[in-house]
Symmetry: C2
Subunit: 379 residues, 2 copies
């Protein structure tokens, strides 16, 4: 009995000391008004070159590897917002995931208050307030579109179920992996406890690319261009629209179409360059864009949570409410403004015939993708 007590006592003392420490830390963080950490999930987080040959088509680890340090530095949620990151990847990437955790610890990010790496989707989703879903199955040469869809439907169904059960109730979700709109739609279907408005997909990369193309064309800084729009699908069918874009000339704002003064360029080369930019990067880099994709995912969440500047909108893939005649419920990219953590579709923009046709083409493609995804569910 004495032996038992002599082991137990120091443990109790240690436990009490630890608890007091935690309570004091909590009170002190309250007194100095330090914010509580936000828990952010990134799937497909790891990157390991040596494994690259074995899983290039499964997991897009390079985006995650570029994204996580941006989150940990406060680029996504602000320089005074502590974060805890949950990083999920598949079993073959477990070691690379551990290496990523080691590097995140080594970087000594002051805002990073915890790192959980796991290959278990339930553990990954536990308590997350923001989920960035980068992981997905990528098409291999010679593969049927439906086979790829089927793989992604099962990945996103599983993640939806885990998020539905284990994420924070107001969790905000951003789907990055293609087919992004339809992956988001499947996710919404199987995560009914997450508000529909909280499930979005990435078209900010395309939006940023469109801003950049206008800025290059006019030889102005990209920070002087705003209010382009990406309509529709995060695919090469997407419609980049500069009809409402604005350029700060230094002596006032002007419509981009006036400054460009070349309707043909706006309807052809501009649209095609933005649509095909992903392919152009792959051609030059011999792999998909990573830093620009990560950066735009960061921008998407940043503006959603912290708001868009007055007079500025951004593009986000969101559930259609029927605006601009887009079938309700489709996950479709619209121009949105954000305030207090909520997005609203910009209303009342004049849509010309050319745009109308492009927007409808996107809606049709997304309806087809939706049917295919649902048929995969039935398989």
């Amino acid at each position: 009995m004495d032996d038992f007590v002599s082991i137990e006592k120091p443990l109790v003392v240690l436990g009490c000391a630890y608890l007091s420490w935690k309570i004091i830390k909590h009170i002190s963080s309250f007194l100095t008004l330090e914010k509580e950490p936000v828990t952010v999930l990134v799937t497909g987080a790891a990157c390991s070159l040596n494994n690259f040959e074995n899983w290039p088509h499964i997991w897009t680890g390079q985006i995650g590897y570029a994204l996580v340090p941006m989150i940990a530095r406060g680029a996504m949620l602000g320089p005074d917002q502590p974060v805890i990151v949950h990083l999920l990847d598949i079993e073959p990437a477990a070691e690379a995931l551990n290496a990523l955790k080691m590097e995140l610890i080594d970087a000594a990010f002051p805002l990073l208050k915890g790192v959980v790496v796991t290959t278990d989707v339930v553990e990954a989703c536990d308590g997350v307030e923001i989920a960035i879903l980068v992981g997905g199955y990528r098409r291999k040469d010679g593969m049927e579109r439906k086979d790829v869809m089927s793989k992604n439907v099962s990945i996103y169904k599983a993640q939806a179920l885990a998020l539905d059960q284990h994420a924070a109730p107001d969790c905000k979700v951003l789907v990055v992996a293609n087919p992004a709109n339809t992956n988001a739609l499947i996710l919404r279907e199987f995560a009914p406890s997450i508000p529909e408005k909280n499930i979005t997909c990435l078209t900010r990369l395309d939006h940023n690319r469109a801003l950049a193309q206008i800025s290059e064309r006019l030889n102005v800084y990209v920070s002087d261009v705003k209010n382009v729009i990406i309509w529709g699908n995060h695919s090469s069918t997407q419609y980049p629209d500069a009809n409402h874009a604005i350029v700060d000339t230094g002596i006032g704002e002007k419509p981009a179409i006036e400054l460009v003064d070349d309707d043909n360029w706006l309807k052809t080369e501009f649209v095609e360059t933005v649509q095909q930019r992903g392919a152009a990067i792959i051609k030059a880099r011999k792999m998909s864009s990573a830093l620009s994709a990560a950066s735009s995912a960061c921008d998407h969440i940043h503006d959603w949570v912290l708001g868009t500047p007055k007079g500025t909108w951004v593009s986000m893939g969101v559930s259609s409410d029927g605006s601009y005649g887009i079938p309700q419920g489709l996950v479709y990219s619209f121009p949105v403004t954000c305030d207090k953590g909520e997005w609203s579709i910009v209303q009342g923009l004049k849509i010309d015939e050319f745009s109308r046709a492009k927007m409808d083409e996107n809606a049709k493609e997304l309806m087809d993708e939706k049917s295919m995804a649902y048929s995969c569910l039935g398989d």
Copy 2:
């Protein structure tokens, strides 16, 4: 003659319009107090997996690929400091370098006011105010140390000559590539127009790793630990020293050695873990650390330019002034504070016998490296 005028006139009008635009932009940027951009050079900037097999030992592109977006987001020089980046890499990486430029444009970073990618060292160095030298020749299996040194000596001599002639007169230089201290020494030798105090090498990665190890051991946030020291060489001989480290306990600051209360751990496991951390990352990741190295390069320049917080020091490889008995002129890592863009070695720290031996061992290794480097110059 008429024909000539009819071609020339529109050109003159365009030229005048362009000039007026530039003047107006300049005045307007002055009125809104926008800062002038700072030009930052990164060598070894590109990363291309497909080329990886062909040049794994030459260029450490992954660090550059992780670093450049941090610079472009303002993590290095502050959220209100516009930047222009110059990105240098070797000829086989030219396409990857172009891809990087495309991605930087696509990311639409508001602070990024220009991107120059080049394989020409003179163009790369032109007007740069901060140079981060990530590119270097890495040791291959079975290669003699002297052969590696010789390759790096010629790379750093060439870059020194270009910086000496073409960089801004008060250019700040950070050498990341190994052997970092000796590369910096060679650079200083061949860039006499750059003040000696402006040439430094990276040991902040090791410094951050040491902070992280103390934080893990004490189960406190890394932001609550400060004032570890990396003495000496950015090699596995380096001496991570926690004798003067401080931990914020929430109810006041305490020496880390008191809280750790295990002198043996501090002298053995702690030292070895930090020294061997690079190798541990390579083992887990199957390639060198990239994001943590990039992040610490960012921290190094950030604190150097914007200052260290009051009561906090960081580790930087700098030219020894003889402090702590380290031979004058060696590039050696010391604890430094920074203010108004200048570092100063922290003076008066008590050095025990154990530390003294480790510090001298580092000095000796660096003297040997220096001799070897100079003998390569003679070849």
